[in-house]
């Protein structure tokens, strides 16, 4: 499933500079240094964190999309940064676990 297709499944666009990226697997975590070494390339990364370091970790680990859960949003300047770095970000009101369960149905 591509990142663009997530939007038809109840996830909301924050910024999607690369809509055709294919999602392969998922990773959930909020301790950024931990995520940095463990989140696989092309995964969907679920997190509740929303500061500038999230975009930095995403541009290192290179997940297909960052999924902000629990209704978390990005401040405007960070959304613009994500866009300029080619980092896809979507959001959902669902708690992290429920969002992961939803994703599991969609990407398997």
């Amino acid at each position: 499933m591509t990142v663009r297709e997530l939007l038809e499944q109840g996830f909301t666009e924050v910024t999607i500079p690369e809509p055709d990226r294919e999602i392969r697997g998922a990773y959930m975590g909020d301790l950024l240094s931990w995520v940095m070494g463990r989140c696989r390339e092309d995964a969907a990364w679920l997190t509740i964190m929303s500061n500038v370091n999230v975009i930095a970790v995403a541009s290192l680990a290179n997940p297909a999309v960052v999924v902000l859960t629990e209704g978390v949003t990005l401040p405007d300047e960070i959304r613009i940064l994500a866009e300029s770095k080619g980092v896809n970000v979507v959001s959902t009101e669902l708690p992290s676990y429920e969002a992961a369960v939803e994703l599991s149905k969609l990407i398997s």
Binding site: L32, N51, N53, I55, A56, L60, K85
Partner: protein
């Protein structure tokens, strides 16, 4: 990071990379706060680089787009309601007195405070990996102080004995362990 001791390792490695002769790692705790101060006499940073150094998209590494050590430490301190500062004087600006000083203040009673973790291992790892530079470690707590100064070790051992020799590392490990145990017994 999962423990502050890993942040200490990361920041002190920056000091060594900046050709520090002496790197001071000073931890000061009271009931409510933990202050981490890492000070070196390395080459320091130019002012424009210093301004960008807390930006995760700035780094000295060429293999990576971003350097996360300093931004993460800043975030971890601020998450507890604490603060972060970094000051530096470049060798170019002042050939006599140059170096970098990084300070992070944490509120220990905040739920997001990351525990200090195994700081003894971090210190040993630093000395083992960089036996030719000096480290001063001082951990001040309400119950007392733990201290280790490689310059003192060098004065006793003489220049022929490298600090990463097994017996020396073992002695350092035991010394730190004993000092902590004495405070908590």
């Amino acid at each position: 990071m999962k423990e502050l001791s890993l942040n200490i390792l990361d920041i002190a490695e920056n000091s060594v990379k900046a050709k520090a002769g002496l790197t001071e790692i000073l931890i000061t705790e009271d009931e409510k706060t933990l202050k981490l101060l890492i000070r070196d006499d390395g080459t320091g940073m130019e002012e424009d680089f210093l301004k960008r150094v807390t930006d995760p998209f700035c780094t000295t590494r060429t293999t990576r787009k971003v350097g996360m050590g300093i931004p993460l430490l800043k975030m971890e301190a601020e998450m507890t309601g604490g603060s972060f500062r970094i000051d530096s004087v470049s060798e170019k600006k002042d050939p006599e007195h140059h170096g970098t000083e990084t300070e992070a203040l944490f509120y220990k009673d905040h739920i997001d405070f990351i525990p200090l973790g195994d700081v003894q291992s971090s210190i040993v790892t630093l000395i083992q990996g960089h036996p030719d530079t000096d480290f001063l470690f001082r951990h001040v707590m309400p119950e007392g102080t733990v201290e280790l100064d490689t310059r003192e070790l060098r004065a006793v051992l003489g220049d022929e004995v490298p600090l990463n020799e097994y017996e020396v590392i073992k002695w350092i490990e035991d010394s730190l362990k004993e000092q902590y145990e004495d405070l908590h017994s």
